[in-house]
Amino acid sequence: MKMTKLAALTAATMLAGLPVMAEGVKVGMITTLSGGGAGLGIDARDGFMLAVKQAGRSDLEVVIEDDQRKPEVAVQLADKMIQSDKVDVLTGIIWSNLAMAVVPAAVAQGKFYLSVNAAPSALAGKGCNPNYFSVAYQNDNLHEAAGAYLAKSGFKKPFILAPNYPAGQDSLTGFKRFYTGELAGEIYTKLGQTDYAAEIAQIRASGADSVFFFLPGGMGISFTKQYADSGVGLPVVGPAFSFDQGILGAVGEAALGVKNTSQWSKDIDNDANKAFVAGFEAEYGRLPSLYAAQGFDTANLLISAINKADVADAAAFRDALKAADFASVRGKFSFASNNHPIQDIYVREVVKEGDVITNKIVGVAMEDRSNAYVDECKM
Amino acid sequence: MTEPVLFTRNLCKRFGALEASSDVSLDLRPGEIHALIGPNGAGKSTLIKQLAGNISPDSGSVWFHGQDVTGLDTIARARLGLARTFQISALAMQHTVLQNVILGALGQRQAALRFFGNIMKNKALRAESEQVLDRVGLLEHASTLTGELSHGQRRLLEVAVALSLRPKAFLMDEPMAGLGADGSARMTGFLDGLRREAPILLVEHDMDAVFTLADRISVLVYGQIIATGTVSEIRENPEVQRAYLGDGGLE
C-alpha cells in the first residue's frame, strides 16, 4: 500500500541510515494529520513544506509524523525523533496542551523548538527557554487585540465567552487586559460543546452591545451559525481562529461582517506575502490559512538561520534565529527578549469576494505588540 | 417429636392477581425425605425460591435450625447449611468436575477470600472433594470439563456440590429431571441413603421416585397445600385425587 503524498515528503527520511552530513539540518515536524483537527496541521505542514521546497536545499531534511492531537502521542513522537531520527529542530505542534507536553523536555535536551502555532503563556513567562521560539504569536495576543479593538471602537458592554480550559481562561484574561470597562456577561462553556442556544439566549437577555468569543475548531463554526440564525445581531469580534480560511468554507455567509483579529491576512501588502499566497494556491489549489502562513514563516526563519550558522554551534544558531533575518509574510517581524514575536495585529472583516468568503483587513488593532510575559522570562 | 430442621409459617406471595403461595406451612423433619408435588403452575418453584432465599414472601416466615431466616438471602442461608440443587444444572461449565466440588468446599469453609496458594494443590480440600466425587461415582471424571459431562452426570455433580457443603438440609429441585430410567434409579438409590445425613425437601415430577423415596408428601395446588401425609395417606386422600389427579389417578 503506497500513500504517495507522505511518501514523497518522507522519502528523505528513508536515507536516514546514511551518515549525516556535517552541515545538514534535520527537522522533526509533529503535527495533527488525522481526526477532527487535522485541517490545521495539514495547513501548517503544507505552508512549511512550500517554503522548504522553494528554498530547494538538499541539506534540509524534514521528518513528519501525526500526533493524532493526543499529547502522549506527541511526547512519544518527540522521543522518537530525538532518539532515532536524531533531529536538530522540532516544530509543527498546533495545540497548546501538546506543546506543553513536548517543548520543555525537547529544549531541555538541547533541541531547538520553533512553534508554528501554539504559544501558551507558561512557555513565554517563567518557562521560557533560549531554544524555544514562537514564530506565530503569544497565545494571548489575538484576544488582547480584540479587547483593544472593542475599547477603541467605543463599545461599552461586551459579552465574552470561551471554553472552560486553560487556553479559554487565558483568552478571557487577555481580552480583559486591554478591555477594562464593564462586561455584560462572562461565561465558560464546555470544551467541545456544539450547541450554544443556551449561551445565545443569555447574550440576548444580557443587554450587551457586542460579543467576543474564543471557540476554536468546530465549536466556533457551530456558534457562528447559530448566532447568525438567532437574529441577535450584535456586532461580533473574535480571534482569527474561528474565521480562518479553512473554516470559513464551513461557516458560510453566517460569518459575513464579523470582525476578527489576526497578525496575518492574505491581503497584507508586501511582496513576500503576495508571492506566498500565489505560490500556495498554485501548489495546493486552495487559499492559504493563518496556519499555512505561520508554517511558511517558520520554515523561512529556520532557513535564514541555516544560512548564517551551523546548527551544531548552538549559540550561533540561536543568535541567527533570534535575528529573525527573513522576509516574513507579515512584513515587520522581530523577536522580543522572550523569543516571542513583536508584530502588528490587524482587524479583519469577513467579506465575500466573488464566490469566495474570505477576510479583508479593515484596520490595525495593535501596533508592534509584544506580549505580557516578557518581564517574567529570565534567560 | 423432634423439632423440624426447616419449616415455614403461613407463607404468602402474590404476583399481581396470581396467588403463588397462599398460607403455606410446611416442615422438614430430621432424617426424612419430604416430597413436594403438584401440577405445573401450582407454585412449587416460587415456594422453593422462598425457602432458598431468592425471593422474599409478602408475609409469613421461614425458619431454619431454630432461627428465623426470612430476612436472609440465599448466601446467608447456604452458610447456615441449606444446600440446594437446581432444576436446570447451575454449574461452572468451564471448570473441571473437581473444581466445582472444591468451590462447594470453599463455601463450606468460608475460605474463598484467600489470594495466594494454589487451590488445586491444597491436599486436604482435594482429598475431601475427591471423596465426595467418589460417593456420587464421578471420581473418574474429576479432571473432565463440566461442560463435557452428560446430562445425568451433571445432575450427580449438582448433588455432589451440595454434599460438599456438609449441609443440615437439602433442597432438591427435580433432581430426576431429564434422567433416563437407569439414571433415575441410580439417583433414587443414592438419595435413599442420603436422608440419614440430612433431611431432603424434594420437588419432583417422577412419581415412581417420589413414592419410593418419600417419608411424607405434601401436595401443592394453586399455591395451597391441600394435603400432607405418608405415601399411602396421600394416595387415598380424596381431595388430592380430585384436585390434582382427577384424570388417571396416581400410578
Binding site: E72, K80, P166, Q169 | D73, L113, N122
Partner: protein, 327 residues
C-alpha cells in the same frame, strides 16, 4: 508444557530479544516503544483481572489509569516547584521517588475502584459497561475543567522521577524497571488466578447462582477483583506518566478505555499474557501503519475488525485454543 505456556515463553523471549536487538542496532526509540508496550500491557493485565476472570466489562478503566497518572503528576509537580501538597492538618510534600508515587497511585486508584465498583456492581451486563463509562467521563470532564493541575493542558514533569539505584532517564534502565513491574504483577496475577479467590471469581463469572448457593457472595468477589484491577491499571498509569514525563486529561478519555480493552481482546481475554501480546501487536501496528499512510487508522480498523470476526479468542486464542484443562 501446554501450548499456552509455550506461547507465553515465546512472548517472553521476544520481549527480551527486541530490546537486545535495539541496543545492538543503536535504535533507542525501539526501547521506548518496548517500554510503552510493557506499560500499556500492564494496564491491560489490570483490566483482564476484571474482564477475563471476573467477566466485568469495564468501559471506564481509563479512570484508574488517569488517577495513577495524576498521582504521579501532582506529587512530582509539587516536588518540582518545592511547594507542599497540603499543609494542614498534616504537612504533605511532593515527591520524585517512584516507589512512593507508585504506592500513592495504587492506593488512590484502588480507593476510586472501590467507590466506582461498589456503585457500578449493582448493575450488570450493558448497564455495567455504560455506568463505568459514565464514571470515566465524569473524571475526564473534571480533569479538564479543574484548573489547579493544568486542566486540559495537563502537567509536564521535566525530569523523570527517580528509582533507587537506577538512572531512570536512560531508556534501557527505564525499560528494565517497567519490565520488572510488569513481570512482578504478572506473577502476582497468576498466583491470584490459581488461588481460592480466583477459582470462586471465575465460577461467579460462569454461574452466579452456583456461587451464591454454596454461600459465597459474588458481589464481594467482584468488588475485590474490580479493586485489584483498578489498582494495577492505576500503577500502569503512574508508569505511563513517567514514560511521557507528562499527564493530561486524555489519560481519562473513553478512547483510552477502549484501547486498553482492545489490547485485552486482541491478545486474548482471560489469558495471562493476552494483554502483553495485544499491546505489542497494537502498538506495533500503530507504529508501522502510521508510516505508511495518513489514513492509517482505516487499516488499523480493518485489522481489528478481522481479528474479531475471524480470529476469535485473540492472538493467543487462535494459537492455543482452550481445550480441556487438566490439573
Amino acid at each position: 508444557m501446554s501450548r499456552e505456556s509455550l506461547i507465553n515463553l515465546l512472548i517472553l523471549l521476544a520481549m527480551l530479544v527486541v530490546p537486545a536487538w535495539a541496543v545492538w542496532a543503536d535504535e533507542p526509540f525501539i526501547l521506548t516503544l518496548a517500554t510503552k508496550v510493557a506499560i500499556l500491557a500492564l494496564a491491560g493485565v489490570g483490566l483482564n483481572v476484571a474482564l477475563g476472570l471476573g467477566g466485568l466489562v469495564s468501559f471506564g478503566h481509563a479512570a484508574f489509569f488517569g488517577i495513577g497518572g495524576y498521582a504521579m503528576g501532582i506529587l512530582a509537580s509539587h516536588a518540582q516547584s518545592y511547594t507542599a501538597l497540603m499543609e494542614w492538618p498534616v504537612l504533605i510534600e511532593g515527591t520524585k521517588s517512584m516507589p512512593v508515587i507508585w504506592l500513592v497511585a495504587v492506593v488512590a486508584s484502588g480507593f476510586a475502584a472501590l467507590l466506582i465498583g461498589a456503585l457500578s456492581l449493582r448493575t450488570s451486563g450493558v448497564y455495567f459497561i455504560m455506568i463505568t463509562l459514565a464514571f470515566g467521563q465524569m473524571l475526564y470532564y473534571f480533569a479538564i475543567s479543574w484548573p489547579a493541575y493544568g486542566g486540559e493542558d495537563g502537567l509536564s514533569i521535566y525530569v523523570r522521577n527517580g528509582f533507587p539505584g537506577l538512572h531512570t532517564l536512560d531508556p534501557l534502565q527505564f525499560l528494565a524497571l517497567s519490565y520488572g513491574v510488569l513481570f512482578a504483577v504478572l506473577f502476582l496475577v497468576s498466583r491470584v488466578e490459581n488461588s481460592a479467590f480466583g477459582l470462586a471469581l471465575d465460577a461467579a463469572r460462569q454461574n452466579s447462582d452456583r456461587v451464591q448457593a454454596v454461600g459465597i457472595a459474588p458481589y464481594r468477589l467482584r468488588l475485590i477483583a474490580f479493586v485489584l484491577s483498578g489498582m494495577i491499571t492505576g500503577l500502569a498509569g503512574a508508569l505511563y506518566a513517567d514514560l511521557n514525563r507528562f499527564v493530561s486529561p486524555t489519560m481519562f478519555s473513553w478512547h483510552l478505555s477502549g484501547e486498553i480493552m482492545v489490547f485485552v481482546i486482541l491478545g486474548g481475554v482471560a489469558r495471562l499474557f493476552g494483554p502483553v501480546a495485544g499491546a505489542a501487536l497494537f502498538i506495533g501496528m500503530e507504529h508501522f501503519l502510521g508510516g505508511i499512510s495518513e489514513f492509517w487508522q482505516v487499516f488499523l480498523g480493518l485489522v481489528l475488525l478481522s481479528v474479531v470476526l475471524f480470529a476469535r479468542g485473540g492472538l493467543i486464542g487462535v494459537l492455543a485454543p482452550k481445550g480441556a484443562r487438566h490439573d
